[in-house]
């Protein structure tokens, strides 16, 4: 795969250190408040962080298992599941047929039967075959039976991008899933969170969907070795700023951060928020920031209309209107299927420059 030529290994930006606080896991391995600049700190890739979380969950909890097309193959789900079957056996880390509809229901049933499945779909596009089980079943099961039963399972998918992945292999469908009550939706942006949120998701007694992004997979970040959890539903501020709040999702956190750093030189101080969890959303964190900055830019890797940027913008227009000094800006992919060709991809995908322009427009009231 020519992926490596699209996005080579890079270190994560030096975000505010406050995001590195995890909390104790069910294994009760509490970590000291974690310091970014401590000596001997370990940097690993995003894929390795996810892999480590899975490995630790498998070793700590016999109910956990990992399933999905190719979880035991050499590429190991872009590295996320690589070699786990060698340590934990194919009884607990196993390949599945290409039958996403039934296998999703089988995961639901296994959860009802006392297990904690982690079902890997390599792309969100394929989750469209699992919608009935995810939305009609998993997400409703606890409520529909008055709390008598619960469905502790994790679905995972990784957004594709680039190299002509095209319309059916690069959809960032969080906008659909964010609409579904009963489902928790996580989109990490750092290696630290990838590990801590995976462990939280597995520990959670409800259906949780984690959507990762290929653009994050090769980045390297600081990750403690011991198991830890990051709370679901809590965002973090990745950069402080007084002029505008930028909420960015998944790999766009990096793009927003870089845009913000650049703009600091031009006299604009943008605060960058990484919600980490889209549902439940950390509304307080966002509202509190907008209360200080009075301005909001929302950035998402999915389509614009009816997606994640819509919900965050609407929430602030409803609950934080009094603080707003300028129109809310939304930066998201255009409302089109992803085109295959690279010249079209370049025009299609948004990034740092789009965010930069939106920030300037929001702060200065005009285009850059």
């Amino acid at each position: 795969m020519p992926w490596s030529r699209i996005k080579p290994d890079t270190n994560e930006p030096e975000y505010l250190s406050q995001d590195m606080h995890g909390s104790a896991t069910h294994a009760a391995v509490t970590s000291e408040p974690f310091l970014q600049h401590s000596p001997g700190i370990r940097r690993i890739s995003y894929a390795e962080a996810t892999n480590e979380a899975l490995s630790q969950a498998l070793s700590l909890d016999p109910r956990v298992f990992v399933m999905g097309q190719g979880v035991d193959d050499p590429s190991g789900m872009f590295g996320a599941t690589r070699n786990l079957h060698l340590t934990y056996g194919r009884e607990r880390v196993f390949d599945t047929p290409l039958a996403e509809t039934a296998l999703s229901g089988i995961a639901v049933g296994a959860a009802l039967g006392g297990m904690r499945p982690v079902y890997f779909h390599n792309r969100p596009d394929f989750l469209l075959l699992a919608m009935d089980q995810l939305v009609n079943h998993a997400a409703k099961w606890h409520y529909m039976f008055g709390g008598a039963v619960s469905v502790p399972l994790v679905f995972w998918a990784c957004v594709g991008r680039g190299w002509g992945s095209a319309a059916q292999h690069s959809q960032a469908l969080q906008g659909l899933f964010m609409h579904v009550p009963g489902l928790k939706l996580i989109m990490p942006s750092t290696c630290f969170d990838a590990k801590g949120l995976m462990l939280s998701a597995i520990k959670d007694n409800n259906p949780v969907l984690i959507i990762d992004h290929r653009m994050n997979f090769k980045q390297r970040g600081i990750v403690p070795e011991e198991p830890y959890t990051v709370p679901i539903g809590k965002g973090v501020i990745r950069r402080n700023g007084r002029d505008v709040t930028v909420v960015a999702v998944s790999h766009l956190v990096t793009e927003a951060f870089v845009a913000a750093q650049e703009l600091a030189g031009e006299g604009i101080e943008a605060e960058v928020i990484d919600p980490r969890t889209l549902r439940p959303l950390d509304e307080e964190l966002i509202l509190e920031s907008v209360a200080r900055t009075g301005r909001l830019v929302v950035c998402d890797t999915g389509w614009k209309t009816g997606g994640v940027t819509a919900e965050i913008a609407a929430m602030v227009a409803e609950k934080g209107f009094g603080s707003l000094k300028a129109p809310i800006a939304r930066v998201a992919n255009p409302d089109l299927p992803t085109p295959a060709g690279y010249t079209l991809e370049q025009a299609y995908y948004i990034g740092k420059d789009d965010i930069r322009r939106a920030i300037i427009r929001t702060v200065r009231g005009q285009e850059a």
Binding site: E91, G146, N205
Partner: protein, 323 residues
């Protein structure tokens, strides 16, 4: 495997109980107290009764919109069921589920889906969980001929065979899915029984014969317990009443009255009762006693349901997530 007299009486008792409960619901439905769509099981009682008689408490079942019979045969509490139909807080699903969403964890009924075919993979997954935990538990999935139209059945069967899961698939072919006859939806006069015999024990049987259902399921369950894999049992039967609601609400004209009449004459409850009487296994007195007990239970359950509190607006936001 031949049934004791005791066991036969048990079977009949289960069938009678289901029948009387369904009849009572039917006759009271127009009062509009049970504000939930009911899908009655009259005519199909031999299937749930025969199948569940082979199961232990910890074995699991999964069923569908037409689930009253499965719920009761598996040991479900009638009070909790009726309270659910009356949408009360004392219902098995606390009034959040209604008639189509019964649950009974204690007896292995982990919740009922009203999406046709939706329960099939879930029941399969329960089998996977039992196998992974090396539990001596079996999972039974009930579904209709309509669900056999759905691809998820084939995906699930394939997986169960592949992994030799302890799952018994019980298809209740009652000839209809709402107003569509099975043969306008499926390409043959019996649904495919997938897989070679060594991979899938499969049988097509008279679903109105409770002993045949029992015996066939018994073999399937034994196989499952021994780790020999899944089974597929197609039971032919008939839904005597309408698809949903009570008789007065059934649209006219989609079924030939003669067809209904012919099946009424093959009523599984009457036929089995007559058989056991002629075998001397039960007598009129025992039957009368059973009827009286059942009636008393039903009266009590309806009274319980009616007296139970209704959930209130304050309950609405409960249980979206499990802590």
């Amino acid at each position: 495997m031949s049934l004791t007299a005791e066991a036969k009486r048990g079977l009949l008792r289960t069938m009678l109980r289901i029948r009387r409960v369904q009849e009572r619901i039917e006759s009271e439905y127009l009062k509009d107290e049970m504000k939930t769509p009911v899908h009655l099981y009259i005519g199909q009682e031999a299937i749930a009764s025969g199948v569940c008689a082979t199961l232990r408490t910890r074995d699991a079942i999964n069923s569908n919109h037409r689930s009253h019979g499965h719920y009761l045969a598996k040991g479900g509490d009638l009070k909790a069921m009726m309270a659910e139909l009356f949408c009360r807080s004392t219902g098995c699903s606390k009034g959040y589920g209604g008639s189509m969403h019964l649950v009974d964890v204690e007896h292995g009924n982990m919740g009922t889906s009203a999406i046709v075919g939706g329960g099939i993979p879930i029941g399969t997954g329960l089998g996977l969980a039992f196998q992974m935990q090396k539990l001596d538990r079996v999972s039974v999935v009930f579904f209709g001929d309509g669900a056999a139209d759905e691809g998820t059945l084939y995906e699930s069967l394939n997986y169960a065979m592949l992994k030799k899961l302890p799952v018994v698939y019980v298809m209740e072919n009652n000839g209809w899915a709402v107003c569509s006859p099975t043969l306008t939806r499926q390409c043959g006069d019996n649904v495919f029984h997938k897989g070679a015999p060594d991979r899938l024990f499969s049988a097509k049987i008279d679903g109105n014969d409770p002993e045949l259902v029992y015996e066939t399921t018994f073999q399937a369950v034994e196989r499952a317990r021994k780790g020999e894999g899944p089974s597929f049992i197609e039971c032919t039967t008939y839904r005597i009443l309408g698809h949903a609601g009570c008789v007065a609400q059934d649209p006219k004209g989609y079924r030939d009255p003669a067809e209904i009449e012919a099946w009424r004459e093959r009523c599984p409850v009457c036929a089995y009762q007559a058989k056991l009487v002629s075998e001397g296994v039960v007598d009129a007195q025992a039957l009368a006693a059973a009827e009286a007990e059942i009636k008393a239970e039903i009266d009590a359950a309806f009274a319980f349901a009616r007296q139970s509190p209704l959930p209130t607006a304050a309950d609405l936001h409960q249980n979206l997530f499990c802590e």
